[in-house]
């Protein structure tokens, strides 16, 4: 292969994906997830982690089948990330010290209520001042609590991953809300393009579903209340969609410069050809009415990949099933794809796995790569009442065989976060 075959349209190193791992409410591992996803199965279920019978939303896509030593968001998020990273490294054929940087998308973590209750129980009566935090401080002055300290540090998940997998340098832990997983991949791509590394470990994990997390989103009217048939609650692009379903998951992608990957004989699962981002300055939770930032993000990803919109064969939508997102996403997509829009299949994995929040961008990047690899488009399930204002080919309800070589994956989040990826099949 000539030198030029390893670089992109701007002369930058091409970035290959050589290993993938995934966990979602559908199961653990790439093959189980892909089988369930293409079978149109939903991972959404009734909440069992905490009592929810009095809450307006009683369904979720939590991952409850991975053992954790202590039930808190740090342990859970770490355990998911550990499992997906093991899978990805095994697939990449890498063992021993990873030797490249780690970019981790992790949920912004607050202390668990169980931990607050425990601290509260340790307060002696004479220290009860009527301010819970004064009381906690009195407890901690008497006896330090290293486990609690570690459980409330944002840096503790990447620390453990870095030690376990031998990554290099100071790991980056990031949050760009629902675009976090995409941002982690973007940081990995940038590091390889900078020439400071041949490989990067990009991980996104979210095991943060708790009563408080759920209630906070519910108070913003963001969640579906279709509780009676949980597997039918996430209904992207339908007329009766009423919010997203909160969920958990994780994904790891091993990124390598194509040249380094081929030099060691690695199998290439696809190329991350383009990353785009553009922040929205309109509102904290709502998008600019004209969709301009989302449009700019999609265009930036295409430009970065050196591709025209015509080259995209399939779109992995953000598709949250909220009234607002799906409308805005259609507006943005149709602005970019124009007359060709009806001919481009667009499906939402979230119809089956719910919204894995911090992990979503990376989980959906893995599914996008599998889509190209297998020549199968996963469906948008629960599409039985199409929204006439969103005339998309959503691959309704049933998977479809289709060879695609370029995929666009969208992520849009609170705080005006927009990030998109363009992925392509291995160059011939």
């Amino acid at each position: 292969m000539s030198k030029a075959a390893y670089t992109d349209h701007l002369g930058r190193p091409l970035v290959a994906v050589t290993g993938m791992g995934v966990v979602s409410s559908l199961g653990q591992g790439v093959s189980d997830n892909w089988a369930a996803l293409t079978a149109g199965r939903s991972g959404i279920h009734a909440i069992t982690r905490f009592p929810a019978d009095t809450l307006s939303t009683r369904i979720c896509g939590t991952v409850d089948f991975i053992d954790i030593p202590v039930p808190n968001a740090v342990e859970r998020s770490f355990a998911f990330a550990r499992e997906t990273t093991r899978e990805a490294l095994a697939q990449a054929g890498l063992s021993g010290e990873f030797g490249g940087p780690l970019f981790l998308a992790a949920p912004p973590i607050e202390p668990e209520w169980s931990a607050r209750f425990e601290l509260g129980d340790r307060v002696s009566p004479e220290d009860m001042t009527g301010n819970a935090y004064q009381e906690f401080l009195a407890v901690l002055r008497a006896k330090a609590d290293p486990a609690f300290h570690e459980a409330i540090l944002f840096g503790s998940i990447s620390e453990r991953l870095a030690d376990m997998f031998g990554t290099r340098g100071l790991p980056v832990t990031l949050s760009t809300a629902c675009a976090s997983g995409t941002t982690a991949i973007q940081l990995g791509v940038e590091a390889i393009r900078q020439g400071r590394t041949d490989r990067a470990l990009t991980v996104a994990t979210d095991g943060s579903v708790s009563a408080e997390a759920l209630i906070r989103f519910a108070l913003l009217s963001a969640l579906s209340t279709n509780n009676d048939a949980p597997e039918k609650a996430s209904r992207p692009f339908t007329k009766d969609r009423d919010g997203f379903v909160i969920a958990e998951g994780a994904a790891t992608l091993v990124l390598e410069s194509l040249e380094a990957a081929l030099a060691r004989g690695a199998r290439i699962h696809g190329i991350i050809s383009g990353c785009g981002e553009k922040a929205d300055d309109f509102h904290r939770t709502r998008s600019s009415p004209g969709g301009a930032p989302a449009i700019a993000t999609i265009r930036a990803a295409l430009d970065d990949a050196g591709l025209d919109a015509d080259a995209i064969g399939y779109i992995n939508a953000h598709g949250t099933s909220t009234p607002e997102n799906d409308k805005m996403e259609y507006l943005a997509l149709s602005s970019v794809f124009g007359e060709r829009m009806p001919d481009v299949p667009v499906s939402s994995n979230k119809s089956m796995i719910g919204h894995t929040l911090t992990a979503a961008g990376a989980v959906e990047a893995v599914f996008s790569l599998l889509t190209m690899q297998h020549g199968v488009l996963p469906p948008t399930i629960n599409y039985d009442n199409p929204d006439p204002a969103i005339p998309l080919d959503v691959v309704p309800n049933v998977k479809r065989d289709a060879q695609v070589t370029s995929v666009l994956s969208n992520s849009f989040g609170f705080g005006g976060q927009n990030a998109c990826l363009v992925m392509t099949a291995e160059p011939a």
Binding site: F117, Q134, L170, E277, D281, F414
Partner: protein
């Protein structure tokens, strides 16, 4: 690679600490010879001491009351300091420049509602069905907007809304390491030509009883008001948290010169790592990071701004290392005068170093009697932050003004 790399320069400083608001206030307090007295509050959170927010008129950088109401002080402070940095760089309200500007924010989490949390804890003592209680109280007592005031990435989100910085928006987390990674990432992107101008920094509010818990869980807080930062045996006397909002505008030198911007300093290198701190491993790593950052041997032309947190032994090890690695270079104990500002610690250290490099005057000692006086304005600055639990970063900056 080296030939194609872009020089990275600092063209905007937005700094708010207990000492005051803005670059000018800090220059006046720190470059006038004598050491300023620390501004501390040892009463509000006794037995702890914090470096409080100075008097500040939020409207100066956050003109709309509606925007102010959507935030608590942590986000307000960050948005304010970001606005100062943009102003200082001459880019405020330059819509074109801001729309293309990248942004990296080092963030923790926002303020808890202490009254609601207390209510729940007190009720929990009378009930066995605590999870049911939690649902009842959270559903009825939580303010919907508080969620957004707590979300880490909403500091950046508010900067986009208030100052129209929208080229990109990335929020990094992980205590002191977040501030290091933010600067490291911005530097790497500009140096590689991936970005031309970037707003980078963080904010931290110390006057939060919920955040004191973070450090006291490791029994790290100093409990003796008025205690000097350094003890006679070289250990530090514990952490006093410090409020700080610190943002920088970083640009490629070409980009800055093309628009005639004032350059405070060149950010030559940022080196960062983490790992075991046992048995000399920390010192070995710091030595490597100093080498990677291209740190010179110590001399009077050099100033070292140390972000030592105040944890007694950890700070002592850092001070010992810096003394050996940079002999004769005056050291400035950042936390003695400003407290520990966690995510904002490293950006604050860089902002202070830029002031010193640009001033043409020596920087006053931060810990009088411990920090050596400087005879001249430095030509090079080394800035360190060693995270209280993990993460270490070293930056090197060079004076650009003649």
């Amino acid at each position: 690679m080296t030939d194609n790399r872009h020089e990275v320069v600092v063209t905007g400083i937005g700094l708010v600490t207990s000492l005051g608001v803005g670059r000018q206030a800090h220059a006046e307090a720190l470059l006038d010879g004598a050491s300023p007295a620390p501004h501390t509050d040892s009463e509000s959170f006794a037995p702890y001491t914090v470096f409080p927010l100075p008097e500040i008129d939020w409207s100066a950088q956050i003109p709309r009351r509606g925007d102010q109401r959507q935030m608590e002080n942590w986000q307000r402070l960050g948005v304010y300091a970001a606005g100062l940095a943009l102003d200082d760089a001459g880019l405020k309200e330059n819509l074109e420049a801001c729309a293309a500007m990248d942004m990296i924010v080092a963030a923790g989490g926002g303020e808890r509602d202490i009254a609601v949390d207390t209510l729940i804890i007190e009720e929990s003592r009378k009930r066995n069905d605590r999870e049911v209680l939690l649902n009842e109280k959270l559903t009825t007592e939580l303010r919907p907007t508080l969620f957004l005031a707590q979300l880490s990435n909403l500091l950046a989100g508010n900067i986009s809304i208030v100052h129209k910085v929208t080229g990109s928006s990335r929020t990094l987390m992980g205590e002191e390491g977040a501030g290091i990674s933010a600067i490291e990432t911005a530097h790497a992107r500009i140096a590689a030509g991936q970005s031309t101008h970037c707003l980078v920094g963080g904010a931290f509010v110390s006057e939060r009883i919920d955040i004191l818990v973070l450090i006291e869980a490791a029994q790290g807080l100093c409990k003796t008001p008025g205690q000097p930062f350094w003890n006679a045996d070289g250990t530090a006397s514990g952490v006093n948290l410090g409020t700080a909002g610190a943002f920088l505008v970083l640009e490629s030198r070409d980009h800055a010169e093309a628009r005639g911007a004032h350059i405070y300093a060149r950010l030559d290198a940022v080196a960062a790592d983490r790992g075991s701190r046992d048995a000399g491993r920390l010192e070995q790593r710091l030595a490597r990071l100093a080498d990677e950052a291209g740190a010179p041997a110590g001399g009077e032309d050099l100033i070292v701004v140390s972000g030592a947190t105040g944890f007694p032994e950890l700070s002592a090890r850092e001070r010992r290392f810096l003394g050996e690695r940079f002999p004769n270079a005056p050291l400035r104990s950042q936390s003695a005068l400003f407290g520990l500002s966690v995510e904002a610690q490293f950006p604050t250290g860089l902002a202070l170093a830029c002031l010193a490099l640009d001033a043409g005057k020596p920087l006053a000692p931060f810990a009088p009697g411990e920090d050596a006086t400087a005879a001249t304005s430095p030509g090079t600055a080394i800035v360190t932050t060693i995270g209280h639990a993990r993460g270490e970063g070293i930056a090197r900056l060079t004076r650009m003004s003649s």
